[in-house]
Symmetry: C2
Subunit: 342 residues, 2 copies
């Protein structure tokens, strides 16, 4: 064992973001924790590795475990470190919803790392939140990509979620929700149930179809939610040139997304008793990305601010895997501040 300063210069923290399409692991040095609370910018990433899905619901437990082990070993290898250098690891993994999910992954990690390594297992929304708060697990994160979910956390460990129930259960603010409503509008315009819309020509041209009749077959030919969600930019472009149907669909999505955040804020009293306290709202995902024209993210923020003027919206500058690493760093720092040994 080296001295404490040796340990600080060689020790590392790992952050894992296990999403439904890929799993990322980053390896950060412990430097900022030893020297100051102000984080360096850019953060010195020692190693980074990517692998496939680690959601056990999608790929099964064995494949999920192998993917996590592989991506961790690869990130350490690229950083020129071995497992003994790891002081803490935080895994934010999609599909972690119950204590039993947490315990399973904790057991895998205890097999990889000796007993004194701090291991934190969370839902991937925690990694997304921490990517905006630089590690602090406090506030609300809104994720809107193919799916959507609002997740909130308080410093005393309470948490709440809204939406994130998938398309059958009405995640209308998601990319899938927006695009499926737009496809529906085209079908309705075609069969006489709805007004004409520019979405028709736009979709037919983009999908290479001859008639709206063919949209039914196109939709059910492949049940992938991401394939439908990929049409969102077409909806935005139609709304930007004044199409009322597309505009209504986006306005409705904004309402749904803002409502998810408000429900979480209210249940956790994130804005305090009178609703004016300051708290972070981290915005993540393709649907919420900055856009010069019809900006869904900006509209959602405006709606949240009307209800909670203290909401402090953040668009993260680092990826969720770094958020996970910073979460681990923050937890260690808190324990140190509380006089606990690590």
């Amino acid at each position: 064992m080296g001295s404490e300063s040796d340990e600080c210069s060689t020790a590392v923290i790992l952050g894992v973001d296990g999403g439904t399409t890929s799993t990322i692991c980053v390896c950060l040095p412990l430097l900022p924790f030893c020297e100051q609370h102000q984080l360096p910018d850019p953060l010195p990433v020692l190693g980074r590795a990517a692998a496939g899905c680690s959601n056990h619901n999608s790929v099964g437990e064995n494949a999920a475990r192998e993917t996590l082990e592989q991506v961790i070993n690869e990130a350490l290898s690229r950083a020129g470190k071995n497992r003994s250098a790891v002081l803490a690891i935080c895994l934010g993994v999609s599909g972690v919803n119950h204590p039993s999910d947490q315990e399973r992954i904790l057991n895998w990690m205890r097999n990889m790392f000796p007993g004194n390594v701090k291991i934190y297992v969370q839902n991937d929304a925690v990694a997304a939140l921490a990517s905006g708060t630089m590690g602090k697990p406090h506030g609300c994160v809104l994720i809107a990509g193919t799916g959507c979910i609002a997740y909130g956390f308080t410093e005393d460990g309470r948490e709440a979620r809204a939406a994130g129930a998938g398309p059958v259960l009405g995640d209308w603010g998601s990319g899938y929700g927006i695009a499926s409503r737009a496809l529906t509008a085209v079908v309705k315009a075609h069969d006489g149930r709805g007004p004409e819309t520019m979405l028709t020509d736009c979709f037919l041209k983009s999908l290479g179809l001859a008639s709206p009749d063919e949209i039914i077959g196109w939709t059910y030919a492949d049940s992938s939610w991401a394939r439908i969600a990929a049409l969102v930019p077409l909806v935005v472009s139609c709304a930007e040139v004044g199409d009322q149907v597309a505009d209504e669909i986006l306005k409705n999505a904004v309402q749904e997304l803002a409502l998810s955040v408000k429900a979480v804020v209210q249940r956790l009293y994130l804005a305090g008793e009178d609703g004016s306290d300051s708290f972070p709202v981290v915005m993540v995902g393709g649907v919420l990305e900055n856009n010069k024209g019809w900006d869904i993210g900006k509209e959602v923020i405006d709606s949240i601010l009307k209800a909670y003027p203290g909401a402090c919206t953040i668009r993260p500058k680092v990826e969720p895997a770094i958020g996970a690493a910073l979460f681990a760093w923050n937890m260690m720092k808190e324990k140190e501040a509380n006089g606990q040994s690590r």
Copy 2:
């Protein structure tokens, strides 16, 4: 060959209803056609057989063909007839949407029957319409079971449809649409996005779940649309005892279903230029069945009548397979009246 009266007493007409869950074939005598235009009540069904799905989209072409051949042979066998007794056959088969679908089934039937047998291949909505109009292909049929569709036909051969695009494309009046909205309402009440509703206790008790959180897992454990749609009676029962959320969901379904019919009526001018002409609207499917309390079918009819006072709603007394047989009978009768030989 026997005399004409011999032919009438031994000849039969076949009707096939090929749905997504089962295929029914009935064998009727030609008697009413020979003697009078007034049909006997009850109709003398000589033979009836049931088999599985014959939608080629679901089971493939070979299985669809085998199912149709099997159910036809079985119905003839039970009637004590052989193929040479068949004068005409009408097949209303789900998944028949394009001329190529029609041609494929026509070819199968031409292989089964000699060239002078009249063969009619239609979408299964035609069988449902004919079950209400006793064979006349004129008017609009609204089918609302697991899915929903409005289909309209005119005596000069024009046709139009509305809805029937499946759950991704917004068939909100269907059993699946009603039940998925109700499940969504339970999730929303639970996570704070929506008002409390009796649907929560009702669904949890019926599904044997402990918490609304478990509804997400229940929903995605089995993607069968019929499994979701089977929850409709629970939604109706909650609306009947005054639950506002359930009531709103049913009112919305009524609007969607009535809109589908109105769109078809308008496109085909079924109600004439001034909207007051009389035309049949045939109502089929579990969602539209008579109900002493909250009656979805009655509300749909009321909405249609407000727009088109000449709409004559019919709840069929015979099954769609008999409708198909009567369609064939009617087509033969029309040709006879027009002086054409069969």
